[in-house]
Chain length 298, copies 2
């Protein structure tokens, strides 16, 4: 249980944290800020918490500060709140890339503030505060990263917070986080954006047919490619090094399939497709999906 919790940025993730924190009574005071007037108006209408019109106020005396704003806004936010941060408080975030943010924060030389990054692997293809819900983090992983100098009890305290929101937590270095996520999330998004752009082309006379018969695989990609564009362009820029590396490996694998198709190499294609079939079982065993037949079904 924290004294004051401050949430900076109240979209899908921030508003879900707000809802869950209220519901579970995890703070004596909750203070929120969002730079959008529209979001602030929504918050005023729907929540009874402290809604601030500037970011200083929100963070003043806060014991836990959560930045759930786009990665590209961190620097400005941090420069603004730097001087008002309470000694011994915990500063965290919810971003999908960590290494660059960590550099920024280390360069700011925050005194006596415990920077511990969080990445709740939770979300939907929708954005904005109206899309949030209290159970968003339930049974989801939250990856936590911190420098070695951060005190154990502060990390425990943040892990405890996420556990109370329903998440399972896992400690990982900033670098490992960015590499693993480049494979599990950033690569799939790059691919989904490309595939939707390829398949659905305004100038193609079959555009409507492609949409009509998209249940054969394509529609699952359109969901991923509908994710928040602003958030994703930040992730791609922040984690560019890993993403470019995995995209190169990906292109090699795709070219292998292309060559096998060109050569009508049945044996090779069968070997490729058989190798990926096994992976599905491991995903299900890891509890990351159900074994219910779902492909192409509503």
């Amino acid at each position: 249980m924290f004294g004051k919790i401050s949430i900076i940025g109240c979209g899908l993730i921030g508003s879900s944290i707000l809802r869950a924190t209220q519901e579970k009574k995890l703070a004596t005071k909750i203070s929120v800020f969002d730079k959008s007037n529209k979001v602030t108006e929504y918050l005023r209408k729907n929540f009874t918490v402290d809604i601030c019109s500037n970011v200083h106020e929100t963070t003043k005396d806060a014991d836990l500060i959560i930045i759930s704003a786009p990665l590209s806004s961190y620097k400005e936010i941090l420069l603004t709140i730097k001087s008002t941060l309470k000694e011994g408080s915990i500063l965290t975030d919810t971003g999908s890339a960590k290494k660059e943010v960590n550099k920024i924060i280390n360069n700011l030389n925050l005194k006596n503030v415990n920077w511990i990054a969080s990445h709740p692997i939770a979300g939907t293809e929708y954005s904005g505060p109206e899309a949030g819900f209290a159970s968003l983090f339930k049974n989801r992983w939250c990856i936590i990263s911190a420098d070695k100098k951060v005190a154990e009890d502060k990390i425990k305290s943040l892990e405890n917070f996420w556990s109370k929101l329903g998440s399972k937590t896992k400690l990982m270095t900033f670098e490992d986080h960015d590499y693993v996520l480049s494979l599990t999330s950033h690569l799939p998004h790059a691919v989904a954006y490309s595939i939707v752009r390829t398949a659905i082309n305004k100038e193609d006379k079959f555009k409507d047919d492609v949409i009509q018969y998209s249940a054969g695989g394509l529609r699952d990609f359109t969901r991923i490619a509908a994710s928040d564009p602003l958030m994703w362009k930040d992730i791609f820029i922040d984690n560019s090094e890993n993403i470019l590396k995995v995209l190169d490996n990906y292109s090699k694998n795709l070219n292998e399939i292309k060559d096998a198709i060109k050569n009508k190499d049945s044996k090779k294609l069968l070997a490729i497709f058989s190798s990926t079939k096994k992976v599905r079982k491991e995903i299900i065993e890891a509890g990351q999906d159900t074994d219910k037949p779902g492909f192409g079904r509503k």
Copy 2:
């Protein structure tokens, strides 16, 4: 309502047709054949229909013959059954590529048999007769293709059959079918196979982490990449011309994203990601998916 219906190949699709045809009482007699002993044994244990030990018997006197076997087996099946096909009967299939099959059938010069291709866009990531179920085709599209010389009433009769299984039907030329499906289904599968091979690499020390945190996008691809390898290698070979063309366009789109990442071009990335967001709305409006937030959720 048909007299005798013959089903050749009784995996996920064939056994689902069998189940639905029985349930809806769409034939006076149903006869099935599968070249696998294991499948035949399963059928004998679970169905009371006529289960044949050779493909001739199955098709003899049949009014509707449905081939639901891998594309690469069509030629052998057709050569074997050619002489026993009943005059005026309808020969159809359930394959995902049409142009090459159509060539084979035209070359065989089947006399007085009405060849009308079917492609039910229905399936799961599972295969085999135990994975089938009677409602597999409910509310799903079935694309039907036929030469101009085929009589209207025969086409109507087949459309009616699929409607009774719960499907919506759509007439399309063989060529258009193969192009549209290369975009909606074949490209997504090629991409899914490549992404799973890239992300989940046995030699990567983070392999287990990648599986553990796969809910951020990757796991949706593992479902697609778990589809039947044998079926898919046949599709890729049969529809190679279209698939190679769309894969080239796809690589161009992916390279555009790669270049934007390399150049840290925020504006370009934002434009790309915003363009794909709109598509999702059209997919939902076309009834191809629900608007329920589902990404990354169980």
